[in-house]
Structure formats: structure tokens, C-alpha cells
């Protein structure tokens, strides 16, 4: 059939061919690069954006404030408390007599309050705070960087957990069918009718809100949409002739599900993957926006957006956050599109 077309690809293993197909989608490939670079940079946020110097050379000795706390007295200060390296007094101590300190490119952490701005908070972009500060005097660039990292990690975690549960339960339902399917479908209907948002509000008031709690709560509900699709794929697939052929070969049920039905039932899973990640990021953002999400000190895009709403004249809050959100979501969707094409074995 396509012997001539695939002549080149003959010597490639399936994984290599998948990678070729992925690269053939240039938008997706470029998006992967850009997103990868941004994400890896954000993983090193502590090095890029921190109120502590990376290295301090004080009186012939090296100190690493990023990994360890040092009291101010270690650098000739007055107090026995952890050093505030942005204090002009400390800065002076660290720069005289051959001492030096190497600061991060952006010398603020997500929770560093800049007490030394020239403008009232929120202060507009300036040479000191490149993207300005929020209404508590915290650097917006730092909060965006940490917030992006948290959002993406949160999105990945929620997607992995939700997809795993959804595929597992959908697969069992679809493969065994019959009574098990019928009973489980009712369980899903009941579970689905629980008011998710109220539960979140209730739990937010009972427990200390945290990222882990949010992941658990959202995972409890997030798997259902996917389970339906996987169930349908398995129901369809289990009557296919290749499953019959596998049974005739003596393949066990688990192996049939794993090797035959799962790869063929992955289309909805992979198609929905980018939307699930962006959905998860948006969920976190919206909950934070509503004040139901992570605790206030945590860097969060949603919290920045809500500050932008409260301080509508401080355009640097809303526009930058909006840009980061839209950029990240668009990149994820382009990558997902290319991934879906790459997994489709029918493309040469």
C-alpha cells in the first residue's frame, strides 16, 4: 500500500517514528521547545529569583544563603535573626573590605516584600521591580515565575491522577460490561451529582487549605468525564476481531486490556490530555481568584488576577498574569495536538 512512502522509515523503531511524526508538526515542536525552556527555567526559580544571594564571600569564607540560613551576626550585623539581604545596611556590610555577594538576577522571592520602593503599593514597573509590585509590595515577576511553576506542576499532577483513575475505572467497566458496568454507572451518576464547589468551600473551612488538599479534592471528581469515554472505547473494542484473535491465542484478560484495548482506546485520553492540563491550571486559578484555593502566601496566578481586579488601574498586575496564563495554555494545547498526531500510528 504505502510501501514506497514508508521506505525511509523502515529501519526506524516505533518510538523513533513517533518522534518523527511529532517533529513533523512544527508548531507543536516549537511550542514544546518554548514550553520546555520556560518550565525548566521556572524549576530553577530559587536561583533566578530570590531575595538571598546565591553566594556570599565574607572575610575570606564562602556562604550559600540559598541553601542555609545564616543569622545577621555572621556577617557582622546586630541581630541574631536570619539575615535580610535586601536591607541596605546588610548590603553595605557585604560589599566592603573585599567582601562580595552574588545576587539572583531578580533579587526577590515570591514572598519578599520590598519596603524600599519610591511609589505606594502596588508600584508600577521600574528598574527595581521589572514588572512592578502587587498591593503588598511583592515583586510581580517573582510571583509570576513561582506561580507559573506551581500551576504547571499542579496541572500535571491533577492530570496524571485523574487520567489514571479515569482510564482504570473506565477500562474495567467497559471490558467486563454487564452487571458490573450497570452498577458502576449508577455510582458515577450519584457521585456526579455531588455539588463539587460547595464541597470545596466546606473543606476549605474545615481543613487548612493546601495544594495537596486541592489535588485530592479535584481528583475525586475529575476522573468521571474521562471514564465515560474510555468505557465506550473498551465496550467497542472488546467485540473487535483482534480481541477475539487474542483470546484464541490464549492471552489473559489483563494482557488483552493492557496490550490490545488500552492502546486502541487511548484516542480520547490523548485528545483530552492538553485540555485536561489547561483545565486543571484554570481550576486552580479560578479557585484562587475566588479565594478558595491555596493559602495567601503561596504564589498563585489566580490571586494575582484577583488583585488586578481590585486594583484595576494597576495594569501590570492583570496584563502580565493574563499573558502568562494564555501563553502557557496555548503552548500546552499546541503540544497536545502534536502529541495526538504522533501517537496516531496510521500516519506515515
Amino acid at each position: 500500500m504505502s510501501t514506497a512512502a514508508s521506505g525511509l522509515a523502515l529501519h526506524l523503531s516505533p518510538a523513533q517514528r513517533r518522534w518523527r511524526r511529532f517533529r513533523a508538526n512544527r508548531l507543536g515542536f516549537a511550542s514544546l521547545w518554548l514550553f520546555g525552556v520556560l518550565f525548566i527555567l521556572s524549576l530553577f526559580a530559587e536561583v533566578l529569583s530570590n531575595d538571598r544571594p546565591l553566594v556570599v564571600h565574607y572575610q575570606g569564607q564562602y556562604y550559600f544563603p540559598v541553601v542555609r540560613d545564616y543569622p545577621e551576626t555572621a556577617f557582622g550585623g546586630d541581630f541574631d535573626t536570619p539575615t535580610d539581604y535586601l536591607d541596605p545596611y546588610v548590603k553595605r556590610l557585604l560589599s566592603k573590605d573585599g567582601n562580595w555577594a552574588l545576587y539572583a538576577p531578580n533579587p526577590y522571592r515570591y514572598d519578599t516584600i520590598n519596603y524600599f520602593t519610591d511609589h505606594p503599593n502596588p508600584s508600577p514597573p521600574s528598574a527595581v521591580n521589572l514588572l512592578g509590585t502587587d498591593d503588598r509590595g511583592r515583586d510581580v515577576l517573582a510571583r509570576l515565575l513561582y506561580g507559573f511553576r506551581l500551576s504547571v506542576l499542579f496541572g500535571f499532577a491533577l492530570t496524571v491522577v485523574g487520567t489514571f483513575i479515569g482510564v482504570l475505572l473506565g477500562a474495567l467497566q467497559g471490558y467486563y460490561g454487564g452487571r458490573f458496568d450497570l452498577a458502576f454507572q449508577r455510582v458515577i451518576e450519584i457521585w456526579n451529582s455531588m455539588p463539587e464547589l460547595y464541597l470545596l468551600i466546606i473543606f476549605a473551612s474545615i481543613f487548612q487549605p493546601s495544594v495537596l488538599l486541592l489535588i485530592i479534592l479535584l481528583s475525586l471528581f475529575g476522573w468521571m468525564g474521562l471514564a465515560d469515554y474510555v468505557r465506550a472505547e473498551f465496550l467497542r473494542g472488546r467485540n473487535m476481531e483482534y480481541v477475539k484473535a487474542a483470546r484464541a491465542l490464549g492471552v489473559t484478560n489483563t494482557a488483552i486490556m493492557w496490550r490490545h484495548l488500552l492502546p486502541n482506546g487511548m484516542t480520547p485520553v490523548i485528545t483530552f490530555l492538553p485540555f485536561r492540563i489547561s483545565g486543571a491550571i484554570l481550576a486552580l486559578t479560578s479557585l484562587d481568584f475566588l479565594g478558595l484555593g491555596v493559602p495567601p502566601t503561596t504564589p498563585s496566578l489566580g490571586e494575582l488576577l484577583s488583585q488586578g481586579k481590585d486594583n484595576i488601574e494597576a495594569w501590570w498586575l492583570s496584563i502580565t498574569t493574563f499573558g502568562v496564563l494564555v501563553g502557557a495554555l496555548a503552548l500546552l494545547i499546541f503540544i497536545g495536538e502534536a502529541l495526538r498526531e504522533a501517537m496516531d500510528t496510521r500516519r506515515s
Binding site: 523502515l10 473487535m240 484473535a245 490464549g250 487511548m266 496510521r346
Partner: protein
């Protein structure tokens, strides 16, 4: 008879598919004529372009995809290719009508058949509904549907395949077209129904004195039906002529190949006697398989379908037992029951051991010895696995002690045995043709060196020339490895080539059993006789 003006004349037709930059020339230089009232057959294998040619006549190819670089389709002084949308619509159904292969999908399931039948009359002749209804009822009666006035208001799903094809024929004849294009009109039907439909088409052709362009891959059908024949191969007409002349004296090598690819008997007479001394491999005694019919809110049992009803059979080592029957006769279910892939009652003894009461878990290791190849090579290979994974699957289960390289060596060996090669290991099923896929499916089971293979219509989805190759491959493998085959098919020519003995099934029961040649020479049961007659055997098997 003086040469008449042709009704339809196709000159140097070329058809090209695809968009800018990625063309494929599907038809190149096709030229043929049909005289009024003539029966012309267009023969060729899949992909030869015969359906595309037919669709071009009515301009039914997807307009966004198709281009006609040159050529002319003349019909009564008009060039159909140059007509605009309104012009061609006036020709469709009124002067040239078409019936399609698949009667199951060519009727809209949401409308009654009456509604669909009167549509062409109202569209083309502007008659009112009452007149249209009376006219169509007459036609419907003419096509031989029992109780046409009752059938008129039923929905397509309430009719059988043969009845639906009759409805399609009635619909095509509604406006008394001058040319009827029949695209594989009987391929999807059972043999006995095939014969009825063919006879009906023949009668109607005479009665309406219309020309028929019959598109088919079946040479027996051509011989039986057509006056002239065009043989097509990869978009070209390679040979055309009168049917008797062409079959008696084929000039083009492709035509010769097609004629020779009709299955020949692959079994020698003395082999039959040798096998009678072989030990019994499989004994099946009084097998029953009933499916309950459930109804009502509480799904209580109101009856049962006896898919397999009291069937006994036995099979010796190295022997092929053919199971023949029409669709719904229970032959596939019987096969699945024998392999214990379907619930059933009765006793099954395989290689001296009873399989009847073994639970599936205990059965799994034994499955190595009895394997199956299914009909459709397109759906029996998982599209997401490579050839190596597909063929290696059984080895992983039944020979877990093999190392990766040993396993690959065995896979390569069996691929060579079935006529494929090592470079195909990492390719996916969709990259292969139907015949190659069926070879992969065969390799998947042969690699385990089983004692028995169930072959469920293994060649029905394949082209005739490929069919012959696959049958010869199966025979070679049988001789080499001494395997037994349970060969299920509806195609009597195939079974005659392959089977030592055969059983004929109808409605779950065995109607006749015997040695192949004996049974073909002198069928005793009247159903077997009807089946043999309908298979167009008399039309020159030699």
C-alpha cells in the same frame, strides 16, 4: 444486426484524485462503449478503478477531490463531464440509475421504504404521491417482494438483505432508465439470494430493454450475466471483448491470470486415503449452542436461537474439514464453540483430552495447540501493534523461556515462511495490503506450531488472485507441519479446493456430510443441491 449508435461512450477518460501537488491518477485512458440494451461487465480487482469509472459517469465522485484532466463521457449526444450540477441531476436516476453493493447502508434507516421509493418519481416526473405510490407498488411487486403493499410502509431494518436489494432495484427502475449501473449488486448477499437477484436483473433488463453496466470482481457472474466484458487493471482497460471469446482466448496476461486464479483443487486423491489412517485429533459430540431471546422490562426469557443445534464432527491429523453454509447458518458459532470461545453444551475431545469442562484458566496454556484465523484481516490485527508484537504475542505467552533475540529469530523465520520479510517487523498493519495482512494473521498462529487451526472465512475479504495465493500458502503449511484445518466458508469453490471432507450447515444443523468430491458430484440433500446450483458452478469451472 447493423452497428447501432452507442448509448454511452467513454473516450480516453482520466480521473485524478487529490489536491494540488499530491495527485494520484486513478484512471488513465479508459475507453469503452455500451450499446442500447447491452449487458456489459466491468471486471477487476479492488483498486482497479472500476467503481470510480462508474461514479464518474454520474459525477458522483467527491467534487472537492476529483479532477478530470481529459476524456469525454458521451451519453446520447451530451458530454456528461461538461454538464452543470442541474444538468447532471436531471440525468441521475432518470436516464442512468445506479444500485450499490451494500444494501444494508444504501437505504436511509429513518424513512419508510415507500417514502424513499417514490422520491425519484416525484423529483423527476412531477407526479403526485398517490400515482407515484401505485406505480412503485407495481414495480415492487415486479421485483418479487412478497406482500408489496405491506412492505411499502415498513422501515429498511425490517427487511432482509436480499429484500433491500430488491427495493434498491425497484427504486433504480422507477423512471425507466436507459442505463442501469450495478456496482457489485450481489456481493453482500448469500449465494442462493445472489442467484435470485441476478435472475431478476436479467428479466428486468429484457423487459425494460435497458443497458446494464455490471461492475463485479466475480468471473462466474460475468460469464453468467454479461454479453461483453472490459477487464480493468490499475486504472486501465487492459482487454475487452465478447464474453465467450475473451474467456476462451484471453490475450492479456492479466486477464489470463484472473481466469487462472479461480481456485483449483489442491488435494491429491491418494492423500485422502492416507489421511483416513491418521489418528483422530478432534472429536465433537452433540454440540449445542443456544442464545436466549429476552424481552420485556424484566428481560425474561421468551425463546432461544439455536445457533448450533446438535452438531457432531470429527477431524483427523493433517485433514481439512470444510464447514459450509450461508450467513446465519451457525458455522462461525460452531467454530468458536469448538475452540471454547463461546458457551456451549456437548463434548469436545482434542488430542485425547476432554476440553468440555476445563475452566478458561486451565484452557489457556492448551490454546497453543488450537489456533484461529479470522475473516477480516483489517480488523483482526490490532492497529496499534507492530508486526513483531502481533506475531510475537503468542510466543511470549506459550514460550516465555525464549530470549528476545530467539523470539525475533522465530518471528523472522515464520514471516519468511508465509512470504513476508524481516524489514516488515516494525511496521503497522495499515501499511500492508489485505493479502499481506492475512499472511501476518496466519504467521501469528503458525509460529506456535499448533495442531489445529480454525480458519473462519480466511479468504473472503481478499481479491481473487490473492485468494489463490493464500489458499496455496495454507496448503503448503499444512503439508509441511501436518496441521489440521477446520475451514469455515460460504464459498463452495474455495472449499472444493481445500477440503478433504465437508459438512453443510443450515439453521444450526448439519444437513449433509461427506467427502468433498463425492458430495460435489452427487449432493443428496436438496439444500446442498440448491447451494451448488446457486454457486454458478455450471458456468464452466474448467
Amino acid at each position: 444486426m447493423k452497428p447501432t449508435e452507442p448509448l454511452l461512450s467513454i473516450d480516453n477518460l482520466a480521473v485524478r484524485f487529490g489536491r494540488h501537488g499530491a495527485y494520484s491518477d486513478v484512471i488513465q485512458d479508459v475507453t469503452f462503449q455500451i450499446a442500447p440494451g447491452e449487458k456489459l461487465a466491468l471486471v477487476g480487482e479492488s483498486g482497479s478503478g472500476k467503481t470510480v469509472t462508474a461514479l464518474s459517469i454520474l459525477q458522483l465522485n467527491d467534487p472537492g477531490q476529483v479532477a478530470y484532466p481529459h476524456g469525454k463521457i458521451g451519453f446520447e449526444g451530451r458530454d456528461l463531464l461538461r454538464l452543470d450540477e442541474a444538468g447532471i441531476r436531471a440525468v441521475r436516476g432518470k436516464e442512468i440509475a445506479m444500485i450499490f453493493q451494500e444494501p444494508m447502508t444504501s437505504l436511509n434507516p429513518l424513512y419508510t421504504i415507500g417514502e424513499q421509493l417514490i422520491e425519484p418519481l416525484i423529483a423527476h416526473q412531477g407526479v403526485d404521491r398517490a400515482t407515484a405510490r401505485t406505480r412503485m407498488l407495481e414495480l415492487l411487486a415486479r421485483t418479487g417482494i412478497p406482500d408489496p403493499d405491506k412492505r411499502f410502509d415498513t422501515y429498511p431494518h425490517m427487511l432482509s438483505g436480499g429484500q433491500r436489494q430488491r427495493v434498491m432495484i425497484a427504486m433504480a427502475l422507477a423512471c425507466s432508465p436507459k442505463l442501469l449501473i450495478a456496482d457489485e449488486p450481489t456481493t453482500a448477499l448469500d449465494v442462493t439470494i445472489q442467484l435470485q437477484i441476478l435472475n431478476l436483473l436479467e428479466d428486468l433488463q429484457k423487459e425494460f430493454s435497458m443497458a446494464v453496466l455490471m461492475i463485479t470482481h466475480d468471473l462466474n457472474m460475468v460469464q453468467r450475466f454479461a454479453e461483453r466484458v472490459c477487464v480493468m487493471q490499475s486504472g486501465r482497460v487492459v482487454e475487452q471483448g465478447r464474453v465467450d471469446e475473451l474467456f476462451a482466448n484471453p490475450r492479456h496476461p492479466y486477464t489470463r491470470m484472473l481466469i487462472n486464479s479461480r481456485p483449483q483443487r489442491l488435494i491429491e486423491a491418494d492423500e485422502q486415503r492416507a489421511i483416513a489412517r491418521h489418528p483422530r485429533l478432534l472429536e465433537v459430540d452433540r454440540l449445542h449452542c443456544h442464545f436466549p431471546i429476552k424481552a420485556g422490562f424484566f428481560r425474561h426469557r421468551v425463546g432461544e436461537v439455536r445457533a448450533v443445534d446438535d452438531v457432531s464432527l470429527d477431524l483427523r491429523a493433517g485433514e481439512t474439514l470444510g464447514i459450509v453454509g450461508e450467513s446465519g447458518s451457525g458455522k462461525s458459532t460452531l467454530g468458536l464453540c469448538v475452540l471454547r470461545l463461546e458457551q456451549c453444551r456437548g463434548t469436545i475431545r482434542f488430542d485425547g483430552e476432554s476440553l468440555t469442562d476445563l475452566p478458561q484458566r486451565a484452557l489457556r496454556p492448551k490454546r497453543r495447540d488450537f489456533q484461529a484465523v479470522f475473516q477480516d484481516p483489517y480488523s483482526s490485527l490490532s492497529p496499534r501493534l507492530t508486526v513483531e508484537q502481533i506475531v510475537g504475542e503468542g510466543l511470549r505467552i506459550h514460550f516465555p523461556q525464549l530470549s528476545k533475540s530467539e523470539r525475533r529469530a522465530r518471528i523472522v523465520k515464520v514471516l519468511e515462511e508465509v512470504g513476508l520479510d524481516e524489514t516488515m517487523l516494525w511496521r503497522y498493519p495499515h501499511e500492508f495490503s489485505g493479502g499481506q495482512r492475512q499472511r501476518i494473521a496466519i504467521a501469528r498462529v503458525v509460529v506456535l506450531e499448533p495442531k489445529l487451526i480454525l480458519l473462519d472465512e480466511p479468504t473472503s475479504a481478499l481479491d481473487v488472485s490473492v485468494q489463490k495465493q493464500v489458499l496455496e500458502l495454507l496448503r503448503d503449511l499444512q503439508r509441511k507441519h501436518g496441521m489440521s484445518y477446520l475451514f469455515i466458508t460460504h464459498d463452495l469453490r474455495v472449499i472444493r479446493a481445500m477440503a478433504h471432507r465437508l459438512i453443510v450447515m443450515r439453521a444450526g444443523q448439519v444437513v449433509e456430510t461427506g467427502e468433498t468430491e463425492v458430495l460435489f458430484a452427487a449432493p443428496k440433500h436438496e439444500y446442498t443441491q440448491a447451494l451448488l446450483h446457486a454457486s454458478l458452478f455450471d458456468a464452466g469451472t474448467g
